[in-house]
């Protein structure tokens, strides 16, 4: 198993897919943060508007799903799955190792990106002499804040693993990526509008609710929609990942590699 894990990390290091995720995450989050902090008027940022600067981070979990899909579908696209299964004919282990490794990399990329976003905001705030109460040492080390940050990282890891299971299930790269992005960004919102009670149980809604601890505490979420509690959202997310992962393992074991 440890050999297989090291092989998986070597695969990630020896191509540009993981680097691509990191660059995409930086473009989606650090760049907007820098622009907002540099261009938005002083008083708007002091009033808490600086949190908007960090909003690009919410796109990173979606990028992580795509990264997970690419990790699995690339094996089929480039035919490397043949050598993967020749070396490890127990296909279930291959999928489980991929889920774990990609989950770890997704989490690490999210952590590095979030750190860079916070540093970017803090640096520009210091240069423009803007006071940001949410960036004070006492606030950052607050238990609830740390829990929210941890949940954000966990969610990104889970979503990356979810992407791997989607890739293993559907194999075809472009339709899987396109279908997932459309589902996450459009289809779920439409379903939530038509059937709000059903909407909160959909996979990406569950993932999103996992990261909304702060909003739930302040009651902002209630204004948007009725939500699951964080433990409920966690259970729903885990249920989706478990079902899709088991299905991915089951189908991969039976699928011919031609």
């Amino acid at each position: 198993m440890s050999d297989l894990i090291r092989a998986e990390f070597l695969k990630l290091r020896s191509t540009r897919t993981a680097l691509g995720l990191f660059i995409a995450a930086l473009v989606a989050s650090v760049l907007p943060a820098a622009l907002v902090m540099s261009l938005v008027p002083h008083d708007m940022l002091s009033d808490g508007g600086a949190t908007i600067a960090a909003s690009g981070l919410t796109l990173v979990p979606i990028l992580a799903v795509v990264f997970g899909i690419l990790g699995m579908t690339n094996e089929y696209r480039h035919g490397t799955i043949t050598y993967t299964y020749l070396a490890t004919p127990r296909r279930g282990i291959v999928i489980v190792v991929k889920l774990v490794c990609y989950g770890i990399v997704g989490t690490a990329v999210m952590a590095a990106t979030a750190l860079l976003v916070v540093l970017t905001i803090a640096l520009i705030a210091a240069l423009r002499d803007i006071a940001l109460p949410w960036l004070t040492a006492s606030n950052v080390s607050d238990l609830e804040t740390l829990r929210d940050a941890g949940m954000f990282l966990l969610t990104t890891g889970l979503m990356t693993a979810f992407g791997v299971s989607l890739g293993a299930l559907f194999r075809a790269q472009v339709p899987t990526v396109a279908g997932t992005v459309i589902w996450a960004l459009a289809a779920e919102s439409i379903i939530a509008l038509v059937k709000p009670r059903l909407g909160i149980y959909l996979p990406f809604a569950a993932f999103q609710q996992l990261t909304m601890g702060g909003a739930l505490r302040t009651g902002e979420a209630d204004a948007i929609m009725s939500s699951l509690t964080r433990p409920e959202a966690f259970l729903v997310a885990i249920a989706y990942i478990s079902v899709f992962s088991v299905a991915a393992v089951f189908i991969s074991m039976r699928r011919d590699v031609t």
Binding site: A7, S14, H78, L86, P89
Partner: protein
């Protein structure tokens, strides 16, 4: 005991495509066996069933006494070249092999020696997308050799090789045989492996038509009569009327069925001038055509 043993192996894709149909064979240790057949005959599917990449619809296949998936460190027992294009284009040849060796629990020192064996050490750091077809073929061969396996399965290893590469491959196969490895090598270009293999399996349209040593199969096959004549077309028509198998290329005929004496007498009786008349032992290609043709007729 046979190293590879297939019993009543069949594979159906969907409802319409029967890729392999009730195939049974055994591969003896230390032999080089040619797995011959035209494109789409079922060779690749059979090889992939041996290593558990494709699940048989019916029948069983055992390698080294068990299923491939039950072997401990399978790549150290069985090396397979199945897909020369199966490498990530952005990954270097060296890393492509390192990934496989790491997953298979094989040390990196074997990566270096496998690259040396296929003469790719000098370009190992280059991304695979910059490799020629022949270089990819050699990289795939290095991948098969990583675990220093006792059994080699090679699916069309000569694809993309230039004449120099072909010569190298023949030498390579002879060296493998000299080391006592068992090799099963598939090809649709029969001439390229004729000089190398001990035994053949002949497959067409999913069915195994013949198997055994080439000499044994050739002994049971009719010789090919080669004729050169300015009236080749007229002679061809006469031979076809008599039920012979004839291939004509301008003034040259390759005839299966009648003996050289019978062909000579037929030409003489019809005032046909012959510039050349000789009887040849059948090549592997002739043998294949005879066997495939006979089975098709029956």
């Amino acid at each position: 005991m046979a190293v590879i043993e297939a019993e009543h192996l069949s594979k159906r894709f969907g409802k319409k495509v029967l890729a392999v149909d009730d195939v049974s064979f055994g591969i003896e240790p230390g032999t080089i066996t040619g797995f011959l057949g035209p494109n789409g005959a079922g060779k690749t599917t059979t090889l992939r069933m041996i290593v558990d990449l494709v699940r048989p619809t019916a029948g069983t296949v055992r390698v080294l006494g068990g299923r491939y998936r039950d072997l401990t460190h399978p790549t150290t027992r069985v090396g397979a070249l199945l897909d020369a294009s199966g490498f990530h284009p952005g990954r270097s040849g060296l890393n492509a092999l390192r990934v496989v060796s790491r997953a298979a629990g094989i040390g990196y020192d074997r990566v270096d020696s496998a690259l040396e064996m296929v003469e790719l050490s000098g370009v190992a750091g280059r991304a695979v997308k910059g490799y020629s077809t022949g270089m990819k073929q050699r990289l795939a061969l290095a991948c098969a050799l990583l675990g220093d396996p006792e059994v080699l399965l090679l699916d069309e290893p000569a694809n993309g090789l230039d004449p120099e590469g072909m010569k190298w491959l023949r030498g390579f196969l002879r060296a493998q045989a000299a080391e006592g490895r068992t090799v099963l090598i598939s090809s649709h270009v029969l001439a390229e492996i004729e000089q190398t293999v001990d035994r053949v399996l002949i497959i067409s349209k999913g069915r195994l038509l013949a198997q055994g040593p080439i000499a044994q199969l050739a002994a049971g096959a009719a010789a090919v009569v080669r004729v050169r004549s300015p009236q080749a077309q007229k002679l061809e028509e006469l031979l076809l009327q008599k039920g012979a198998g004839v291939n004509r290329l301008e003034t040259a005929l390759a005839i299966r069925g009648p003996s050289s004496a019978e062909v000579g007498e037929l030409a003489h009786a019809n005032d046909i001038v012959l510039h050349e008349l000789l009887s040849e032992q059948p090549s592997l290609e002739d043998l294949f055509l005879q066997i495939a043709g006979t089975r098709r007729e029956s």
